[in-house]
């Protein structure tokens, strides 16, 4: 009950002032800009994470070096750390007064950076178990049939870890779309430039326009839901071979 009611209220409120007002707010340049930024950033982060997350998972499962278990533990840090502190840490290194002279505060790069931080664990943690379970003999069979190492990875390993990657991507995307804490400090929340939808919604509430806020929130929910469904569908397709055994 705690879960369902608030959502219902949200949808209701967004309709309060009528459909016309709904679209008015949503279509407004500021809202559209925020929405676009949020979605594009989330897609970039999901993709970056898909690549690096897989590499990290690979290294953790197949490679061995001193301090590997430490690295493995550190991956979970974004889960444990408050998002606002995450934003602060990134700001300290990549913002004004940066000791290495890199200042991306108030830029869109900063947003992507912050979102990469919070989404880091997702792909890694969904790919690790799949990679671990992978039948190494399939790779050996491929080699014995003449496949180069690249072909072994591309034709054998990758297709089999793809469901894991997709799950992680879905989680990372959902997280990135909704994130506020990590982004709010480092992005500066400049309207039309570095304002993400979550910040936009919060500003609307604080200005008293809760209907407008609700409208944008609903749109964001619907779009995210659609994308997640898409990823889920993709995952379903890719795991065709596991069914009706």
């Amino acid at each position: 009950m705690i879960v369902v009611l608030p959502i219902a209220a949200l949808v209701w409120e967004s309709k309060k002032d009528g459909a016309h007002t709904f679209w008015q707010v949503v279509r407004s340049p500021e809202a559209t800009a925020a929405l676009k930024l949020t979605l594009v950033a989330a897609v970039i982060v999901a993709l970056v994470n898909a690549v690096f997350g897989t590499v990290i998972a690979w290294v953790l499962v197949r490679d061995d070096f001193h301090g590997k278990s430490l690295v493995n533990a550190v991956i979970d840090l974004p889960f444990a750390l408050p998002t606002i502190v995450a934003g602060l840490t990134l700001l300290s290194l990549y913002g004004p007064h940066s000791p290495i002279g890199v200042d991306v505060a108030f830029t869109r790069t900063a947003i992507v950076l912050a979102l990469c931080f919070v989404a880091l664990p997702f792909v890694v943690r969904t790919v690790q178990p799949v990679l671990h379970e992978l039948d190494r003999e399939m790779e050996e069979a491929a080699r014995s049939l003449g496949a180069s190492e690249v072909a072994v990875f591309g034709r054998i390993v990758l297709p089999n870890i793809l469901p894991g990657i997709l799950s992680g991507v879905a989680l990372a995307f959902a997280r990135a779309v909704g994130e506020i804490g990590a982004v709010v400090l480092i992005s500066g929340n400049l309207p039309y430039r570095t304002e993400v939808s979550s910040v936009f919604v919060m500003n609307r509430i604080e200005s008293g326009d809760s209907a407008g806020a609700a409208a944008v929130a609903v749109v964001l929910l619907v779009v995210s839901f659609a994308i997640l469904l898409g990823i889920g569908g993709l995952r379903f397709l890719v795991t065709r071979h596991e069914r009706h055994a």
């Binding site: 039948d135 003999e137 399939m138 050996e140 069979a141 491929a142 080699r143 014995s144 049939l145 003449g146 496949a147 180069s148 072909a151 034709r155 054998i156 297709p159 089999n160 065709r240 071979h241 596991e242 069914r243 009706h244 055994a245």
Partner: protein, 318 residues
């Protein structure tokens, strides 16, 4: 393609899985590597395939040194005990894999796949996924897959080990007939001596990473060169100071020659033969196999005292 293994040693830490092993395999032959678990036979096979590299020694394929050669370049077909099927590909795609890697034209691939599926009896299953096949079917697919790129050597690592007894027997026959048709140099690994004897032209017996004896199945059975081989290939029991095969124990009511006094513990009828469990004066157990008629002639019963004598031929003295 002939295979020559020269003095190969492979260690895992302190433990030598293969220890100074040498063997020559003639082109076109069907050879079995037979031995108990841990005898190093699988490791040896994988070294020939290039899936492991030896610490010492050489592997020569068709007269050329291949020890450092990657598995991709050896032209070797490998069949795994647990099939190693490409789960995410259909049966057709599995079989076609080696050919696709070699970038053969599409119609050539399709024709070859059809040919092989027919050969292994899986024509109707081309569009299925491995998860939908039985163990025996998966292994046949794995064989077709290994044969598709026309390897010069076919290596099988306990290929029927994961299957149940009946399927195992069927596939054994089937492998023999396949070899008769296809004539690829084939080496397979097994711990089942019956399998080795039934299928192979020549059998190499391994123990603790070393070669004990190599020869035809008959040679190994009739003239074993060590106690290990005698016990491993067929049954053998101690009688006095000799090792005797159950069929070679003659039972009589009167002592003669080097006969030993034994007591009958149990008599079991096994079709045309009878198994007689005996125990000698020192408490050592042994088993004799006698034909039915002899049982009736002697009128044997439990608890009787008899005299057991090794028959003149086929006795191994340490």
């Amino acid at each position: 393609m002939s295979i020559e293994i020269r003095n190969v040693t492979k260690r895992f830490g302190e433990y030598a899985a293969v220890d100074g092993f040498s063997l020559e395999v003639a082109s076109g032959s069907l050879t079995a590597l037979l031995g108990p678990s841990g005898s190093g036979k699988s490791t040896l096979l994988r070294i020939v395939a290039g899936l492991e590299t030896p610490d010492e020694g050489e592997v020569v394929l068709a007269g050329e040194l291949a020890t450092e050669l990657a598995p991709q370049k050896r032209g070797v077909g490998f069949v795994f005990q647990h099939y190693a099927a490409f789960k995410h590909m259909t049966v057709r795609d599995n079989v076609a894999f080696g050919l696709k890697i070699r970038k053969r034209p599409k119609d050539e691939i399709a024709a070859r796949v059809d040919e092989l599926l027919k050969l292994v009896g899986l024509q109707a299953y081309g569009a299925r996924y491995p998860a939908q096949l039985s163990g025996g079917q998966r292994q046949r697919m794995a064989l077709a897959r290994a044969l598709a790129p026309e390897p010069k050597v076919l290596l099988l690592d306990e290929p029927f080990g994961a299957l149940d007894a009946r399927v195992r027997a069927e596939l054994r026959d089937w492998l023999r007939r396949l070899h008769d048709e296809v004539h690829v140099t084939t080496v397979f690994v097994t711990h089942d001596q019956e399998e080795a004897m039934e299928v192979a032209d020549r059998v190499a017996v391994l123990n603790e990473g070393r070669l004990e004896q190599v020869g035809t199945p008959v040679e190994l059975y009739d003239t074993p060169t060590s106690e290990f081989v005698m016990r491993f290939v067929g049954d053998a029991h101690r009688l006095a100071d000799r090792l005797v095969r159950p069929h070679d124990i003659a039972l009589a009511r009167e002592p003669s020659g080097r006969a030993v006094e034994v007591e009958v513990e149990r008599i079991t009828l096994l079709g045309a033969d009878v198994r007689v469990d005996l125990v000698d004066g020192h408490g050592e157990r042994l088993v004799a196999r006698v034909p039915r008629e002899e049982l009736e002639e002697l009128g044997l019963e439990r608890g009787e005292i008899l005299w057991a004598q090794p028959a003149a031929e086929r006795v191994f003295v340490d």
